[in-house]
């Protein structure tokens, strides 16, 4: 790919991942030299919203029919679609309470005029279209994003991280919060790549990058319960960034 046509899009989210792209200050000028950014509404007002794209980078979850249609349009015009951020990859915090009554919630907040609002339960991009590459993180890590793009420019899909936060935590010799302070650290369940940012600050991982492939939920839950945490709270905690929502949902059902 020589200077591919690129679009950067945000569905519903906090714009944190697009901000991380803009935060690549040192390398921002390199990025715009390597990529022909044709459609990036957050950063430019001269956007070609119809051209074919080699690469579409999409942030945010799908929370409305409008999002869904936009995503389908993006997919149709792009060769490679990359989901960036936990919302796009897993549904993010908006998917936390998949089981609550959404229309009721909307009515609670907006009153009657809420009824006509275009709103659907949160979904990750892969639930709607094919996704070629997922880069997780809330927000994504700058290095991982740039190396992902470099790999794509080189013609390869980047090597997906598969190791948990714990491994990175130990590589940096941080004190373990599970064995030492008995926090609810989600490090063993969470996909690494952040260099164990939170444990490095003596704060338990909250799982913002979503789960590792073979997360041993049962064992971690048993451990947390042994350490005195309630099942409901554990289930909620696991569900925060939505990656574990399906299993966490089962966990809370077990109880009832």
């Amino acid at each position: 790919m020589s200077r591919p046509n690129v679009g950067i899009f945000g569905l519903t989210g906090c714009a944190g991942d697009q901000l991380v792209i803009l935060n690549c200050e040192d390398r921002f000028l390199h990025i715009i030299a390597a990529l022909n950014i044709r459609d990036f509404a957050m950063a430019s007002s001269d956007n070609d919203s119809a051209c074919d794209l080699d690469l579409a980078i999409v942030e945010g979850a799908v929370l409305s029919r409008r999002d869904e249609e936009q995503l389908e349009r993006i997919r149709a015009r792009s060769r490679i679609l990359v989901a960036i951020g936990t919302c796009a990859v897993w549904g993010g915090i908006a998917a936390m309470d998949g089981d609550t009554d959404r229309s009721q919630l909307v009515r609670d907040i907006y009153g009657e005029c809420g009824e006509q609002f275009d709103t659907t339960p949160a979904r990750a991009l892969h639930e709607i279209v094919g996704v070629d590459l997922n880069i997780s993180g809330c927000p994504i890590e700058e290095e991982e994003f740039l190396s992902g793009i470099s790999n794509l420019l080189n013609g390869d899909l980047p090597i997906a991280p598969t190791t948990p936060v714990c491994a990175e935590c130990k590589m940096r010799e941080y004190n373990c919060l599970l064995t030492e302070r008995v926090d609810m650290c989600l490090g063993p369940l969470t996909l690494g790549g952040c260099n164990a940012r939170c444990p490095g600050l003596s704060i338990g991982c909250v799982g913002c990058r979503g789960p590792v492939d073979d997360a041993n939920l049962e064992s971690v839950t048993a451990l947390f319960m042994e350490n005195g945490f309630g099942r409901e709270d554990i289930a909620r905690k696991l569900r925060t960034f939505a990656g574990l929502r399906v299993v966490a949902h089962t966990l809370s059902e077990d109880e009832s």
Binding site: S150, A167, K170, N175, E180, N216
Partner: protein, 344 residues
């Protein structure tokens, strides 16, 4: 072997002389845990530590290192930048020295790993005595005393350290400090022997390694592996902190907007699901139980077949690091069918 003694009160003086042999790194404390770090001042050194979170392995096989730089014009060029750095590791325990000797077998036999070996030659090791705690079982693993693999080894005999000189460089260090060292007397020897046998009695963990390979073969299908598989988190903590685990991954990293890049090597673990995954999705150790079994099997049985001894030195790190309390001594004793009072 040349043996001298060093007054304890002069240790800081000795350390200041040793600086000329390289950057001094020693165990330092952080919220009750220890790690080898570059010292800003000698007072940071905590020679009374029990164990560091990461073993000295991190100096020889770093968590991440660049092996080659690839440039379109020159091809793969070996990266040599950090290799020549001279470091003095002050205060390495016997088990960790044993572990380095084990890594020497892996990286220094057959195909020689020049990165590891170059570091091994540039890093000076000053060993020190220790007191076993509740997780130590180096005695069972025959790793409680080191005969080789260090430049100097300091053994506590009260007011003095008996100093065993292991290499010519160790001798140079002794000579550079001149009058700090004195001759060993008969009463020093008596004291050394007294302390040595006393130390043997302080171990709280014990296990028998004779015929362990046979036991492993016999118990290859035992239920315990399934049980452990249900408990294990595949977090890799045990292998990250192990002084003799050396699995690594290699990846090419390309620079944005070019075809140039680096080939890096990164720590890996046999507990990760992708460790034995090959093309076509075939995974030779798909289940967690098969992976944790493999770790024990490889250390306690596979390594014996290849190198004549288990690759565990009994440092206790994996016991301390496991969030769900999987305890290697407990596992082995259970395989053997013996209960030991102090294992769980």
């Amino acid at each position: 072997m040349k043996i001298l003694k060093l007054e304890k009160g002069k240790l800081d003086l000795f350390a200041s002389v040793v600086q000329q042999f390289g950057e001094v790194h020693a165990p330092t404390e952080h919220e009750g845990k220890f790690s080898f770090k570059r010292l800003n001042s000698w007072s940071e050194a905590r020679l009374d530590y029990n164990r560091t979170v990461l073993p000295p392995r991190k100096y020889f096989l770093p968590p991440r290192e660049t092996l080659f730089k690839y440039r379109e014009a020159t091809g793969y060029v070996p990266a040599t930048e950090d290799l020549e750095k001279r470091v003095v590791l002050f205060g390495v325990h016997a088990c960790d020295i044993h572990a380095l000797n084990i890594l020497d077998e892996v990286f220094g036999k057959g195909y020689l790993d020049p990165y590891y070996l170059t570091r091994r030659k540039n890093i000076t090791i000053i060993g020190i005595d220790c007191t076993p705690d509740e997780h130590c079982f180096c005695r069972s693993m025959r790793a409680d005393f080191a005969e080789t693999g260090f430049d100097l080894f300091l053994k506590d005999i009260g007011d003095h350290y008996l100093t065993f000189v292991g290499t010519a460089r160790g001798d140079d260090m002794v000579i550079a400090t001149g009058p700090l060292f004195s001759e060993v007397t008969h009463s020093d020897i008596v004291e050394y022997k007294r302390r040595s046998s006393q130390k043997c009695d302080t171990f709280k963990l014990d296990l028998e390694i004779r015929d362990l390979p046979e036991i492993f073969e016999l118990e290859y299908q035992a239920d315990i592996w399934e049980e452990l598989g249900e408990k294990c988190l595949s977090c890799g903590n045990c292998s990250m902190v192990c002084p003799t685990c050396y699995c690594y991954d290699v990846a090419d990293e390309v620079k944005l907007g070019s075809h140039d890049g680096d080939r890096v090597r990164l720590w890996d673990s046999c507990l990760f699901a992708t460790h034995a995954l090959v093309a076509g999705g075939e995974n030779f150790r798909k289940t967690r139980s098969s992976r944790i079994k493999f770790r024990f099997y490889h250390k306690q049985r596979g390594f014996v077949a290849e190198y004549g001894r288990p690759s565990c030195v009994g440092c206790g790190r994996c016991i301390e690091a496991c969030p769900v309390g999987i305890n290697i001594v407990g596992v082995i004793n259970r395989l053997r069918g013996v209960e030991h009072a102090s294992t769980d």
